[in-house]
């Protein structure tokens, strides 16, 4: 009798923990979606990926250690699923020598539409061109940009999520942002010509 009672109590505790876990995970849905939307190219793919992530998270809730970073735990499921989906390997473009440094984009924006305040000059780029430029950054580089700049993860968290050393996160981030700026500089020039 006492044993049955203990069992019942244990089950009740477990159900309570699970419900709490599920609520916390659902509270993060908007943030998860924002990251997913930029990791893949279409809205449909992002929705599928988020659904798969949630299905897996709910199934494997016991593998989450309470008190640890739930957002990073979820994101790790998401990035693993995304890689499992067999995304196409992309080759990183060869980098141009650093003749103009990271200011290539700034200089291009000035050339195409005149001098401006350095805080306002980015507004010359359309929002669509930013989204397109990010989508054209090769996956490995885009993943870290999305995690750090859109997901607000630290270098350390991004390293854990992607299972790469922190130095790799830093170099991919640096290079990825440079590729992004290169793409945007190309867009700025194209918009000027059209």
């Amino acid at each position: 009798m006492a044993e049955a009672e203990t069992d019942a109590r244990r089950l009740a505790t477990e159900a309570r923990d699970r419900v709490r876990f599920e609520e916390e995970v659902l509270d993060l849905a908007d943030q998860v979606y924002r990251v997913a939307r930029r990791l893949v190219s279409s809205r449909e793919e992002a929705e599928d990926l988020v659904q798969e992530t949630y299905a897996r998270a709910f199934r494997s809730w016991r593998s989450y250690t309470p008190g640890t970073n739930l957002r990073a735990w979820l994101m790790r499921i998401l990035t693993n699923l995304n890689i499992d989906r067999g995304r196409r390997e992309q080759r990183a473009p060869d980098m141009q020598p650093m003749v103009e440094g990271d200011y290539f984009l700034y200089n291009r924006l000035e050339e195409t539409s005149g001098p401006a305040d350095e805080e306002r000059i980015v507004e010359r780029l359309s929002q669509d061109s930013i989204v397109d430029a990010l989508a054209s950054v090769p996956h490995d580089f885009r993943d870290v940009i999305v995690l750090v700049d859109i997901g607000d993860f630290s270098y350390q968290e991004a390293a854990q999520i992607l299972d790469v050393p922190i130095g790799t996160v830093m170099s991919r981030l640096h290079r990825g942002r440079r590729i992004l700026k290169g793409e945007l500089a190309g867009t700025a020039a194209a918009e000027e010509e059209s």
Binding site: A15, R18, V19, E22, L26, A29, D30, Y33, R34, R37, R38, R43, E47, V50, Q51, Y54, A55, F58, M98, E100, G101, D102, Y103, L105, Y106, N107, E110, P115, E118, E119, R120, I121, V122, E123, L125, Q127, D128, I130, V131, L134, V148, D149, I150, S154, Y155, M170, L173, H174, R177, L180, K181
Partner: protein, 80 residues
């Protein structure tokens, strides 16, 4: 000539982790002291901050649909 055409080595080394708030306290102070004294880097810093904010704004404007949100909630384990 208003172009940023000189390359500051210090800037390459510190500005990205500074923007990402990934520097230690002493490195942060070093970066701030440098930014204060270097016109090229401080201008570049303002540009990078605004670019990042702009990218973030452009890429986070699409909200998740209420249908998806409902779908996610329905994936929860049903209560016995």
């Amino acid at each position: 000539m208003t172009h940023f055409d000189s390359i500051c080595e210090k800037c390459e080394e510190l500005i990205q982790p500074y923007l990402d708030r990934e520097l230690s306290e002493s490195e942060r102070l070093e970066a701030e002291a440098h930014l204060e004294g270097c016109g090229y880097c401080s201008k570049r810093y303002r540009f990078e901050v605004s670019l990042r904010r702009y990218v973030r704004h452009a890429c986070c404007s699409e909200e998740m649909s209420p249908e998806l949100k409902a779908k996610l909630a329905s994936l929860r384990t049903p209560l016995d």
